[in-house]
Symmetry: C2
Subunit: 330 residues, 2 copies
Amino acid sequence: MGDPAGIGPEITALAWAALQHTTTHFFVIGDPDLYQTTCTQLELPPVQLIHAPEQCASRFATGLPVLPLALSQPVRLGTPSPVHANMVIQSIKMAVEFCQTAQAAAIVTNPIAKSVLYQAGFTHPGHTEFLGELAETFADWPAPKGPIMMLCGGGLRVALASVHVSLADVPAQITTERVVHAAQVLHHALQQDFAIATPRIALCALNPHAGEDGAMGSEERDILNPLAQVLRAQDIDISNAIAADTLFREENRRTFDAALAMYHDQGLIPVKTLDFHGGTNVTLGLPFVRVSPDHGTGFDIAGKGLARADSLIAAIKLAQQLAAARNLSS
Amino acid sequence: MGDPAGIGPEITALAWAALQHTTTHFFVIGDPDLYQTTCTQLELPPVQLIHAPEQCASRFATGLPVLPLALSQPVRLGTPSPVHANMVIQSIKMAVEFCQTAQAAAIVTNPIAKSVLYQAGFTHPGHTEFLGELAETFADWPAPKGPIMMLCGGGLRVALASVHVSLADVPAQITTERVVHAAQVLHHALQQDFAIATPRIALCALNPHAGEDGAMGSEERDILNPLAQVLRAQDIDISNAIAADTLFREENRRTFDAALAMYHDQGLIPVKTLDFHGGTNVTLGLPFVRVSPDHGTGFDIAGKGLARADSLIAAIKLAQQLAAARNLSS
């Protein structure tokens, strides 16, 4: 569902329109009236109410399948309200349960507004961390556990060793333990979900010029290069720390399957610069597949016919691909 | 000249080959034997020895003009040596003097290896700071003084508020004084050198999501947005702090004439990701025009026929363009 007052409803309907003749099927957990109104405005066929995920496949070609989760109050597009927060959270829980019972192959999450959920008592830093907690209810999951955030777009896959912290707090997060863990989760996910038998990981330096032999920072010499050596001894193909400004140049992009960035903007700038609309956000290291579009709730343009569904469509397609790879490998 | 043991000699000869039939004339200050050998290997015509810059124009179509500055010892390509350091430094000083006496319109500097110069007693952090010191000998220069580093490439111009410091040291450099100064130098240079009457400057946030109202850092709220307001009151068209990951997306790139990045990788990642080979480095706020290619000395590929002159050629062309604009505006 995502936040119902944002662009979620319209991009969901647009994604259905784009995928209706394909074998990429999805259903949305949400308020039937909201989606019906949206589809009517977009001149799309009526929504298809379903009562269990298995009804999705046979109805998908006819209209957007909606598994009902009614909102207690009407939505005002563009005006976020904490009155919907419980339903937003409930839709996430339901999606996880459908994966747990194998009724769904993957989860795609529309954007939420954290500040709105916080007002309703939500205590997780974001979607990703909440899903990480829900994942703990899964019985067994032998792989290295995330959640680790990875952006895909512009031909790049970039995972993050630190995420939503101020720039001043980044260096303290670049510990051997954290970076090793992120690399292990990334390596395993590239094998299991992306079907890359021997993934090549490029390790981003924290400092400019990869520290230039310690002249501009010592983390490469003291933390990153030593841990990369240890990981290589564990058969994880990871580079020493590479200066991040040259890593993403065109020729270099072909030399690795994923990069491990040290902080948010270092990883997101290249992806969004190359491909803003088609970028997606994958959560690695969960017992289920989770992908989301790489943009926010878009309250400012909600309901105005301006929102683009490119990222959501890419997310749905990628989720299907990852789920297929994971089923093959499990 | 740049470091004579790197790719400087061959990209200089290649740049001459690319520009020989144009009105973009340049001469190189360096060792005539070294350039003659290089031109012979590249099957280019013999170099043209000149003894004063004014001879350059009439000789340029015939061969690469070289203003002699002989090295004391032969160069071994790929093997940097401090024995050449004094000549490297001397060539920079001569270039500045030619600008001071209006015998040259602009300076283009080939890459130097700082560690090699340091061994010979060079004490400046780099080319840019050395040029900033040499600029102090110029009598009057009414504009805001740099040096401020700006990268051009991929349709972007990105100036830096902090440059060659570790990531941990960046936040301490993001002071009102420094950022205001960088913005003023940038604004003036866009007018004077880039001939943009009312330049639009995009201010990069330091933190992810521009701090998200203080949740991930307070510099936007406490430093950057207030100083942007002050600058706008001085008729400098600068935005509030914008999240850097979305700033460089394609649609946004058209909305500003230059961005002011807070740190090295934030500014260099988008430029090099979009255009690695054609990127150039401009020093703003000097009493002369200075541009350099946006790459290093390339010791590992020197003399192997692998070096590309794209960036140097772009630098020479841009230097000519900036010098023309500056002459018109002065």
